[in-house]
Structures are given as C-alpha cells and as structure tokens.
Symmetry: C2
Subunit: 234 residues, 2 copies
Amino acid sequence: MTQYKGQHHILVAIDCIIFGFDGKDINLLLIKRAFEPEKNKWSLMGGFLQPNETLDEAANRVLKQLTGLEGVYMEQLQVFSEIGRDPMERTVSVAYFALIDLHQYEKQISEEYHAEWFLLSKKPRLIFDHDDMVRLAQKQLRYKAALHPILFQLLPEKFTIPQLQNLYECVYDTLFDNRNFTRKVMSTGLIVKLNGKDKSGSRKGAYYYRLDKRTYKVKEDAFLNFVPKADKFI
Amino acid sequence: MTQYKGQHHILVAIDCIIFGFDGKDINLLLIKRAFEPEKNKWSLMGGFLQPNETLDEAANRVLKQLTGLEGVYMEQLQVFSEIGRDPMERTVSVAYFALIDLHQYEKQISEEYHAEWFLLSKKPRLIFDHDDMVRLAQKQLRYKAALHPILFQLLPEKFTIPQLQNLYECVYDTLFDNRNFTRKVMSTGLIVKLNGKDKSGSRKGAYYYRLDKRTYKVKEDAFLNFVPKADKFI
C-alpha cells in the first residue's frame, strides 16, 4: 500500500519578476498574457513546471521563451498557494525575482515577444495575485539592499553620488538627506573618487566615483555586525 | 483552447524543520517515516498539500498530525524540486522551519506520535534530500540570528550572559571570545542587569539579566544601518 495513490496532483507554475534600473528609475518587465483566462491582460512572465526540469531551470526557460532574456540570475522568492488564485484550476506558483541593469539586457529583449518595461510606479494592474508577488519582491529587494551593497552593481562604471542616491531613493520610494547619504556611503569604503566631474546636473558638478571591487568582494556579506566574522558561517 | 490541458500535474509536499533549544543545545525534531519508500527511516515531518488548504495551513496541519505540536510559527524556507528527489514519483517539497524553546512545547509532543528530539550535532542520516533541507535551514537561522536578536527570545526570563553566549555558540557551532561577546551584547541595550547571581557555573557567579522588551520591540529590525530608518520601509 502506498500513501501516494489518490493524492491531490496539481499544477506548479513559475512567475518571474524582473526589475530593471535604467539609470534613473526602476522598471518592471511585463507581458500580455497569451491565453485564457485573463487573455491580453498584463502579467508577469509565467509558465508551468515541466517533467524534465527543476524550478530554477523552469524559471530560466519561461523568462527566455517570453522575453528573450538569458543569463539573468533570479532568486526564489516565495510560493503562492491561495486556493482560488488561478480561477482555472488549483495551481501553486513559485515566484522568482531579479534586479538588472536595463541597458545591459536591452538588446536581448526581442520585439517578437511583446514584453514591455513599465515604470514600477506606473505599472498597470496585473492578473491573479501578481500584484502581491511584485509587492513582496519589492520588500525583499529593500531588505537585501539595506544589508548588502547590491545596488552599487547597477550603476555604470563611473558614477556620481547623486546617481547612487537616486537609485536608493527609487528602491525605497523616499528622499534621503544628501549630506547624511554621502557620509554613510563614504564610510563604507566601497567607492573610490576619480578625477573627473559630471557637470550635467549642476554648475558645481559632482565627482565621479568607481566601485572598489576588492573592498566590495570583502564587504558583500560584511553587514553582520553582531556576530564576530559572521560571514564565515553563512 | 486552453494551455492548462495536458500539463504536468504533480504532488506538492511540505516538510517541517523544527529546531528546539533545551537551554544547552540545539535539537532537531524527527519522526520515523510510516510508509514506503524509506519506511521506518528518520525523516522530517512531511505530508502532501490537500485541496482545501494553503501551504502555510498544510505545514501546520502536518506538524500537528505527526507530533502534536500546535501554534508554532514556521517560516517558508525554499522549494526543493530536483527531479528524482522522491523515488516514488515527481514531488516538489516546500520546506518550512522554526526555532522553538524546547521546554515550552515539551508537553505538547505526545508519546503516541513517535517524534523524537536529536542533538543537531548527532542527528541520524535523513531520507531523500532532508539533510539538504536541514543544512539550508541552519544557514538561514545563522543569517537571521546575525541580523535580528531572535535568539534572545529562547532564553528563560532570567538568564546569564554565559547562557546567551552558549546559545550563540550552538547556532554558529564555534567559540566566541568571552570579553568581546559580553561587550557586544551590552552595547545592544537589549538586556537589563538584575540583582541576583547564578552561582551554579562558577564560584564568582554570573549576573542575571532580563530582556528589555521595549528596546527589543524597537531593535527587532534595527539592524539596517546603511539606509537611514530602513525599518520604516520593510
């Protein structure tokens, strides 16, 4: 006798939340759903888990099939399992998310797929529980960005402190005090001042900086300040 | 036409990782699996998602059915989806975990269920990918405990600093320098010195402390030191 017989077999879906920073704003990649229910409504990039793939593989396949995007490192966020979340039939969905440099991947996103970037602040209403997924991904992004310098990687090779501050302000949807922000960023030891200035933003201009890649490598997990050398254990 | 027809319908399982601190060591709650395959082998508490429940509800039901434990707040850890992870048939499993005060729940764990606590450091080999699940839960616990004072809640109302240090040493499986540990803990402002001393451990004795619940409430998320008042956004 087995406990497996007669059990509830269901569909397992994957939905991908892709945030893209364009140098100024955070955007969200969406597609128009190609089939019923909710055909032609805006949706995250989703699909069903297939027999021959793991969830990570499925997330990458779905993203590539629907947008052309390849090689994006996505992180498992959470499984959504409300009973009626898909009106067609019981489906649990594993949400994956990533934050990318929009320009770096721009060319990969092929016209034929009808994927579109929306300003995160102006995104349309999404199908099913996809709005909840996006909200949770934003929360996770804020949590991670407060602990790890992940946002530094989204800027161009040479960047200014106002650019960095603008990115943080986008992610946290708030304004930071300029002087405090500069002081905190400088104190991380993560950036190195260059000689040139960007004069496009103000007459006085803003110095260019670059990421200190060696320090970044060391500090990537060095947020752990209660446990001595905690990064050793992670 | 629908995209749902002919899709791959599979089993979705839940597995529960329950760590229990007994005042001295971290323990892991296990059961002997009651059915094939791997009958009578040590296993996490697991079961299949039913039609009328969400994953959170399923995790609570499974834990209660197999151990008697109720009201334990478990957190979704990750979905495990390797293709052959369950030799019987394709099953993805959502791992949940919790860290509890073993003594507080001791009475709930009924004899009839054959659940047993094992020292985490001496646990038997588990079925399927359950060892991987436990390892990931340990990692997540270390990450969380480095950022939030969650471990403070596991101690009795009156506790000593050596007791707290011992708990941290259990979780991180290492020894901390006594003086540094005391200094860091005191600097958090999370604990209040009491008058009495515990003399069981040494002739000199160790002062009792209690958690400052008001500060704890404030500091619970106050690890975020890069973004000013980041806890506002989480």
